[in-house]
Homo-oligomer: 347 residues x 2
């Protein structure tokens, strides 16, 4: 209808509506004006309705204020847009019950497939299995779980945890804190395993008091980190023994931090500031982060960077394979992409 | 059905499903287990289907990697969650055509109301009016447009632009760049108007060469800013006149920057680094930003902070008023919330 009204080929109209680079700005404007006049619903979606397909991919994320997820969404959308699909983003806010409700909603025909990264509260996966049983394919990315038979796209979390910890050890750290936001999330436990292995491998003790769970808002996280950093600074053996820079100064005090998620960067820096601990003089800091400002922080932050864009893209590609080929087995299609260590001033 | 299976009141079940604080963790778990066993779709949504209501609010954002929007979403969700609604987030990627397609999709019954912040490419608003004509209420926030008769919730952009510029003038800046990402967006033009007024009000000339449009990715923005900062450093009168710190050194060179959106922070800092310009020694920088890391940058960044959470919350409240009361006139319900200047090392 739109094509004949404009005397253009349906292909040209379709490309113009999808904002293809092959179509001139002038033609696009003509098409859009006519589409508006006729109150036209673009073909991809109208076609979808006829086939009872939503032409929509649902994305479930635990939080939005995180550079990793922002980049992963870009990777997902690069694929989804190419296929003429829409994306809907829903947030679980790290809560299990919100995640359950989102998946129920997604199971009612609203989306054709789901990409998700699970909430820090989530310890079981029946809600994901229920969605799969309704023939809605699901691909997990970054924060995955092992007891669901579907594709997982993540980074080499254990190796990355090992690399981060070993880097601090190579810089002379001996009492290294591991900070996480969950005791059950795959990313937390895998990275922690790498931390443990690195310490053990270098003959250092793994101490429970150095493995710190940070919950709540940024202010609460900061207080938790301050407490952890104050170990061995006061107490029966702490007072009266502080030299200007000798080993007396807090010789039980942590001298390194592995922060396992980006959210922890600000609380870690603020906690060190509050305690007058210099980074990297008193404490060396490495963080898992995709923050574009990492190099601009004072001091510039050493990071483990995940290939966020690529993870999003790979997850979306697998999802479309499952949607397009009935015999494609998602359960056998997981992939692991390597992280990168970028050394800066903070270590 | 669920309530009777559990021998609980429907109110208790409904509250448990909404994760209310009034219900114990134990009861919630019982309810969730039974809900799972019966493959129960929660009442708010099922009720919605019966009334042909989606119980869903659509949010249209230009980008996701921005602290302002992350916080605004939190404000929106505080209201939406309380009302038992879902939120769907769609991204326009600053593109007019994507925005048009999202609104078409939202107009097909997918959502009951829309909160949106418009794309930098968008210069006209027929697509928004079309949605309003379909009786889907729309509230614009932050990036608004004047030619749609609906509520707008934004910050005092003109005053904030004035305040930012006046602050730089008070610090001795005389050649101040104004950086924006669009020539049509309300936030860009209003803040620019404030910039012009402040210069004029303090007897300084407004020069076109100092009003810079930054487009493309971060790398392209950085190059644009480098060029703008290189004004008066070379050229026929520039060479051979550079003293160590006297006025000869680039006496035509810009000595201040008002960056009108957060996205510009990283390119500005990197451009100054590349040109070996010290902040605040050579160039003073102020940016509109809600970044939690502003105080941790090197140097700490002076910011104009918008009340992002409050803007999101106010916009969502107005939307629900319009959805709940047929005679509520959104066209008369706009509100403006003040921004805050936080002075740090960069100025």
């Amino acid at each position: 209808m739109l094509a004949s009204a404009l005397n253009l080929s349906p292909g040209t109209v379709s490309k113009a509506l999808k904002d293809s680079y092959e179509i001139s700005a002038e033609t696009k404007q003509k098409v859009m004006e006519m589409a508006r006049r006729l109150d036209y619903v673009p073909n991809p979606y109208a076609g979808g309705l006829r086939k009872r397909k939503s032409k929509t991919i649902g994305i479930v994320l635990p939080v939005i204020s995180d550079s990793f997820f922002a980049l992963a969404i870009e990777g997902i959308e690069a694929v989804v847009h190419e296929k003429g699909y829409h994306v809907l983003i829903c947030l679980s806010h790290e809560r299990y019950l919100e995640e359950v409700n989102i998946l129920k909603d997604f199971g009612s025909g609203r989306v054709d497939g789901v990409l998700m990264s699970i909430a820090s509260e989530t310890c079981e996966s029946q809600h994901i299995r229920s969605l799969l049983e309704k023939d809605v394919p699901v691909v997990l990315f970054d924060r995955v779980c092992d007891d669901v038979k579907t594709a997982r796209v993540s980074t080499d979390d254990k190796e990355a945890g090992y690399t981060a910890t070993e880097h601090l050890i190579s810089r002379g750290c001996r009492r290294i804190l591991y900070l996480s936001i969950s005791e059950s999330l795959s990313i937390s436990t895998e990275r922690l395993q790498g931390y443990r292995q690195a310490l053990t491998g270098h003959g250092l003790p793994v101490e429970d008091k150095n493995i710190i769970l940070c919950t709540g808002n940024a202010e609460q996280m900061k207080r938790t980190i301050e407490e952890a950093l104050s170990q061995g600074r006061g107490g029966p053996n702490g007072h009266g023994h502080r030299g200007p820079n000798g080993p007396e100064r807090g010789d039980e005090r942590p001298d390194g931090i592995v922060a396992s998620v980006e959210k922890l960067v600000t609380p870690v820096y603020l906690a060190c500031k509050a305690l007058h601990l210099s980074i990297p003089g008193d404490v060396k800091v490495i963080c898992f982060s995709n923050m574009p400002q990492a190099s601009l922080l004072s001091p510039a932050l050493t990071t483990i960077t995940q290939p966020a864009f690529e993870i999003g893209k790979a997850a979306a590609c697998l999802l479309f394979k499952a949607m397009e080929k009935a015999d494609f087995d998602l359960g056998k299609a997981s992939s692991i992409l390597p992280s990168v260590l970028t050394i800066r001033e903070s270590t």
